[in-house]
């Protein structure tokens, strides 16, 4: 028998929130159905991490932010996320539940590119959003957290790139959960139509080191035939936030979805990154990097799911763990029957900086097809004393030598982030977490 769980906000709240946002009927009914389903669905069960005692229910909703008229008005803590040498012309900044700032170049607007907050998108592009929202990539009823996501959804963006359009300059979203107790249920929906190109970068920021809070994040990326999507992220939720983060992609024929994820949360985190390689010759490079500190527990699962022939999926996970942190890295290559000549490779490497940290790297291959290639590598180790000796033998002090080795260890992922200022930001965050 399922115990009826009480969620902090009831069905009336969901209805009135949907009304307030003037949502289309399909979205309102999706929310309400999801709310009912959430009661009966189980929590997700990430492999090797027990999340039963994690806080997913103690949070508030409803905080708003304020709008600004130019990027110069942003507080200093956010200025670091903006490329100061090359001020972005396609940027969306969300403060709590409010669109603080949003701009899209005239050129892209004229080419039919859509880049707007998720609520405006549901109104202005209702059919388009409905077609993709929580259907093929992430289903509402997968588990309790996906259902709650749909029910409480309170932020996010929608990006659409029309057929043949190449977006040269990156599109960036900053999700600033500035209110310490108000939770974020954020949804990024990206549709790259045939033969289009897009680089998308997102930042998540919060400051609640003590105050408990929740983030429930879903990203869905669709790359149609010959489309090419590069997706970068720097997550930086504070220690008080428990995060559920699910980023999924669906790649059609000859489409590429590349992920470069800097997962720098300070709180407990379950992160899933799945790419469905549906079309023939579809490709994905799923790279993730993390630095764990304090007592946080994290679980990172990356999956390339091969359905298409000649699909190529590569997973690269790197983690540095200090203090009492625990991190599990699951890298899964799953090849379906019929996906002939698919290639699935996984590499997970963990560097331990303290004897109390726990790390586990699990590369897994699930193959239901004979004619494939696959490979995996995993290691959990400490800073190599011979590398230290070598650097120190050139006069580099011990701490600096260690810093170089650790940053170097993470560099293969950091280097893949699409915007230099975001790379720099990630390096700074890594250093802040490690020292």
């Amino acid at each position: 028998m399922t115990v009826k769980t009480k969620f902090p906000y009831d069905k009336d709240y969901v209805t009135s929130f949907s009304n307030k946002k003037d949502e289309p009927e399909w979205m309102k009914s999706l929310r309400l159905q999801a709310f009912d389903q959430a009661h009966d669905l189980n929590m997700p069960e990430p492999d090797k991490t027990n999340i039963r005692r994690w806080n997913f229910t103690n949070f508030e909703l409803g905080a708003e932010g304020s709008t600004i008229s130019s990027l110069e008005e942003l507080p200093n803590e956010l200025q670091d996320f903006i490329d100061q040498d090359n001020v972005p012309s396609n940027i969306h900044i969300q403060q709590n539940g409010t669109v603080a700032f949003s701009t899209l170049s005239k050129d892209l607007q004229e080419k039919g590119v859509i880049f707007t907050d998720i609520f405006t998108a549901m109104k202005d592009h209702s059919d388009l959003v409905e077609k993709y929202f929580m259907k093929e990539a992430v289903a509402v009823d997968e588990h309790r957290l996906t259902a709650l996501h749909a029910a409480y959804l309170n932020g996010g963006v929608f990006v659409y790139v029309p057929e043949g359009v190449k977006v040269e300059e990156p599109i960036q979203s900053i999700f600033w959960q500035e209110n310490e107790s108000s939770a974020l249920f954020n949804h990024v929906l990206i549709v790259a139509d045939k033969d289009s190109e897009l680089t998308f970068v997102e930042n998540y920021i919060s400051h609640n080191t003590e105050q408990e809070n929740v983030s429930n994040i879903i990203a869905e990326v669709f790359a149609h035939d010959d489309a090419n999507v590069s997706y970068g992220s720097v997550d930086n939720f504070a220690a008080g936030t428990t995060s559920y983060i699910n980023r999924r992609g669906v790649a059609d024929e000859r489409a590429t979805i590349d992920w470069a994820l800097g997962q720098m949360n300070d709180g407990n985190t379950v992160s899933e990154n799945v790419t469905h390689l549906v079309g023939q010759f579809s490709v994905s490079h799923a790279r993730t990097v993390t630095a764990g500190r304090g007592k946080q527990t994290q679980n990172f699962t990356a999956i390339t799911h091969h359905h298409g022939k000649d699909s190529d999926g590569q997973i690269l996970q790197r983690g540095v763990l200090k203090e009492n942190t625990t991190s599990i890295f699951n890298a899964i290559g799953k090849i379906e029957h019929g996906a002939t000549r698919a290639n699935a490779e996984q590499e997970s490497r963990v560097l331990m900086l303290s004897k109390d940290a726990r790390g586990d790297a699990n590369p897994i291959l699930l193959i239901d097809e004979d004619d494939v290639t696959a490979g995996h590598a995993a290691s959990v180790g400490r800073v190599d004393e011979f590398q230290m000796y070598y650097l120190q033998s050139r006069g580099i002090p011990k701490q600096e030598a260690e810093r170089l080795i650790i940053l170097g260890f993470l560099e293969p992922v950091v280097d893949e982030l699409p915007i230099p200022s975001i790379q720099k930001q990630l390096r700074t965050l890594i250093e802040r977490k490690i020292y």
Binding site: D384, E385, F386, Q387, M388, Y389, Y390, L391, Q392, S393, R394, G395, I396, P397, K398, E400, A401, L404, I405, L407, G408, F409, L410, E411, P412
Partner: protein, 262 residues
């Protein structure tokens, strides 16, 4: 450059439970080039590693002094900043750290925190050194030693020697893995440093070949973890012509190796 003296006195070193060095005495001064020769397994590389402070070696007896300062009390990086340098036989590969960033960190480690080497000056110095050693400019942006050929690693060691300008350098089998052309290039570069800076040097090698290009002032033969014979450059030539047997006979040594279990 001021006069520098490295004194190694009665040095005993063990690795795990094997004593490899059994009382080495050697003094190297600025401007002096010493060659330590000897067959495999006689303790030559152990001497090099022990002076630099390799983590696998334990000093059980004796002392190493640099201008009277106790080297054994110093951390590895302090030894380097005090003026010691070791061109390693097997340098580590360090992923994610470019050769250029590494060199800059090494140079800046010798300078005050707020007085790092200006970028343009660094690039110019490095480019000149790369040219002199006939190294592809791309190497500066490659990760340190990662995927380098044996020869590239050796050139990279000498590149560092050239840029860091130590007082006393130890070259541990820098000639192995180098073809004759590369050997000439590397030797020329070392000879330039010798002339320009008054470097003191300890060259460890199996072969006389390297010493055709870099003329030593002193040659020492190592067997059984000790220096058993010393002489001038002519000693190296005699070893090249006659091998090591005559020394073994002269000294009544049957097995010249040390620390190896039968």
């Amino acid at each position: 450059m001021s006069e520098t003296t490295l004194e190694i006195k009665d040095l005993h070193v063990k690795i795990e439970d094997n004593e490899i060095l059994k009382g080495v005495n050697l003094t190297i001064k600025s401007g002096e080039f010493h060659a330590v020769m000897g067959p495999n397994g006689t303790g030559k590389s152990t001497l090099a590693s022990a002076v630099m402070g390799h983590p696998s070696y334990e000093i059980t007896q004796g002392s190493i002094l640099l201008n009277g300062e106790d080297v054994l009390e110093m951390e590895v990086d302090e030894r380097a900043r005090a003026g010691l340098f070791l061109a390693m036989q097997y340098p580590s590969e360090i992923s994610g750290v470019t050769t250029s960033d590494f060199l800059r960190s090494s140079i800046n480690a010798r300078r005050d925190e707020d007085d790092g080497i200006p970028l343009m000056q660094f690039i110019k110095t490095m480019d000149n050194a790369l040219d002199e050693l006939d190294i592809d400019q791309n190497m500066a942006q490659r990760y340190l030693n990662e995927g380098f050929s044996g020869g590239e690693k050796k050139r990279n060691e000498i590149l560092q020697l050239k840029m860091l300008q130590p007082e006393i350098a130890i070259l541990d089998e820098i000639d192995s893995g180098l073809d004759i052309d590369a050997l000439k290039v590397v030797s020329d570069s070392i000879n330039n440093v010798r002339e320009e800076t008054g470097l003191g040097c300890l060259i460890i090698t199996h072969y006389q070949r390297l010493l055709n290009y870099i003329t030593p002032d002193f040659v020492h033969v190592m067997m059984q973890g000790r220096i058993v014979k010393s002489g001038g450059a002519d000693l190296a030539q005699k070893l090249e012509a006659e091998g090591y047997e005559w020394i073994k006979e002269e000294l009544g040594i049957e097995d010249e190796t040390v620390g190896q279990k039968a």
